[in-house]
């Protein structure tokens, strides 16, 4: 199961590699990661998605918590309610004749058009990860030329 671990860490050089190293050392593959300074420039907020069972996540969080630079680490699946978002850019093969059809699909999935060319169209979408996957599936028929996603971010509601 995919678990999201969120951590508030001190904004220090190497902190990302320290935290990421903790996951890889214990054999977890980081599915995706988002890291950015918070409103307080002293801290960085990390959101890390990993495939692991619940017990492992607890262990990872305990081990992360003892790092000097980690202020707080939590398992987001324990949030009573939350909002999760991921951002995606997707370049879909699109001839001028297919354009209307593809734009209609884009509209269904709340994708915003970023650029339209003679052979492709680029959309951006910010949604829950499952919606991003659904949108990508819908475009598969036309040919996905490029797909780039950021890591998920999650906030307790």
């Amino acid at each position: 199961m995919i678990h999201i671990v969120v951590a508030k860490v001190a904004s220090k050089t190497g902190v990302l590699s320290r935290v990421a190293g903790h996951f890889t050392r214990r054999g977890y593959n980081i599915q995706n990661i988002a890291a950015c300074e918070t409103h307080d420039p002293e801290f960085v907020h990390l959101t890390i998605s990993i495939e692991a069972d619940e017990r492992d996540v607890e262990l990872v969080i305990n081990q992360l918590s003892r790092l000097a630079d980690v202020i707080e680490a939590r398992d987001a699946s324990k949030f009573p309610s939350s909002v999760e978002r991921q951002f995606m850019l997707i370049k879909v093969a699109c001839t001028p004749t297919q354009r209307q059809e593809i734009l209609k699909i884009a509209d269904t999935f709340a994708c915003r058009v970023v650029s339209i060319g003679m052979e492709n169209v680029i959309f951006e979408i910010t949604e829950e990860p499952s919606k991003l996957s659904a949108a990508a599936r819908a475009f598969e028929h036309y040919g996905i030329l490029e797909l780039i996603k950021t890591g998920s971010i999650i906030m307790e509601d």
């Binding site: 050089t13 190497g14 050392r25 262990l59 003892r66 202020i71």
Partner: protein, 567 residues
Amino acid sequence: MNGADVVVKFMKSKGVEYVFGYPGGPVLHLYDAVYRHDLNHILTRHEQGAVHAAEGYAKATGRVGVCFATSGPGATNLVTGLADAMLDSVPVMAVTGQVATAVIGHDAFQEADILGITMPITKNNYLVRKKEMLLEILEDAWQTALEGRPGPVLVDIPKDVSMAQFDEDIDFEAAAHKAAQHWAEKHARTHHYEVAAQLASIAEALKTAHRPMILAGGGVTLSEGAGALLSTFIEKSGIPVGITLMAKGALVPSDRISLGMCGMHGTPVANTALSKCDLLIAVGTRFSDRTIGNPSVYAKKRFIVHADIDAAEISKNMEVNIPVVADAAAFMEALLTIELPQNKLDEWADWKREVVSSKHGIRTDFKAEGVLKPQELVQAVARVVPDALVVTDVGQHQMFAAQHFPIQRQRSFITSGGLGTMGFGLPAAIGAALGRPEDQVILFSGDGSIQMNIQELATLKRLGTNVKVFIVDNNCLGMVRQWQETFYEARYSQSCLTDNPDFMAIARAYGLPAIEISAREGLDEKIAEIMGMQGPVIVHCNVAEMENVYPLIPPGKGPQDMVGVKE
């Protein structure tokens, strides 16, 4: 005053007695400051020797062991010792030189990314990118090494930072205060499984326990006063106690109250008790595979209370019923406040009698015949100097020392438990001897282990410290050979050392007195004579090649699978 002066003055402000190290290019400023301020620096003959000596000092005293090394190869030579200190929770502070900040990442001469390399094997590590950060980092590193569960830290100082000019009136106290605040804030945020909250459940568990047992780990050695509190609890409750390798010496008086060591080469009684108990109270142990073998053997078959200072140890190796995050002494103090169920005390006493009087003794057996046995040697040394500070290397001799040398005092059995580092012994013994100058230090090493840091004989010679080095020579890598005999149908692959050098000649080449022991007859007298000699002595001991360490619980098995117990 330059950055190097700040480092040396910092060390002096912390009361550092000894720094172990080895000079080189980017630490020339540091070594100049060592010279000018007359810092007590011990030159080892290899950086690995420096870090193990720092470990030995720290393990013997509980204070921070400090080592210096230069950049690149100097720093990478510390790696094994830092990993060793990490696994055995030893407060060690390594200060390394680094190439100048302007050329970091340019593959400069003797540049290595020691921060990246040591990240997983230190509690925290630091690169001082700006001179303004130096003092704060030194303080934070120092406190990190000591706070909570101790461990190693590394501070990497680029050459331009150690050269940079600083104000004379640098405020060490303010920096110390800031670092302390950082840790206080961190601790204030974490409060899982506090002892007060769990005490009632522990009392309940005791009320229903028929066969309770305590397992004491290295945390009892590290936590001031924990051993005495635990001894009190054991005497009061009559609950039998087993120890791990890292708790050797923690309980006083050990023989009267302890069943001995649990684990792979533990005593039959301790392992039998471990396999039969219905309530296990584990204090300051991480349930290492060498202690418990296969954790699934224990799962759901007994109720487990686990107290450890490190929350990350809870349920890491063993699923437990009542977790407690606390320092061992604090936990024992709390445990002593529990009203013991009086109706249970007789039942527990019966259980303890049953365990102790079982056919398996506390000491393991061997036959004192033929060529001198390593066990006989260890027992003889223990008879002559029972209150010695014992240091070991790694292998069969280490386990023989653990089994046959009853340690009388705290912090008096110094060994590489977690990492199992051959070559640890000699430098660690030197560090321990400096930290405890009043004590008789005994090093048990092997013919394999001693050759892994044999250059430190030069350090020993220069210092003249009171270390009696027993090279337990069985002409092979004994533990490897034993496993090959037991698990690989006696195919002795690369474990024979029949062409060992002449250790007596080596000792003499280093200018050290050398004595040979081969005979059983007059063993005690000979050892007494060696102990009467001033300063270091190298004792080359010819022992039986094919002796095995028993009992043995094969890896991945449980206490019931113990082999080699003589009926």
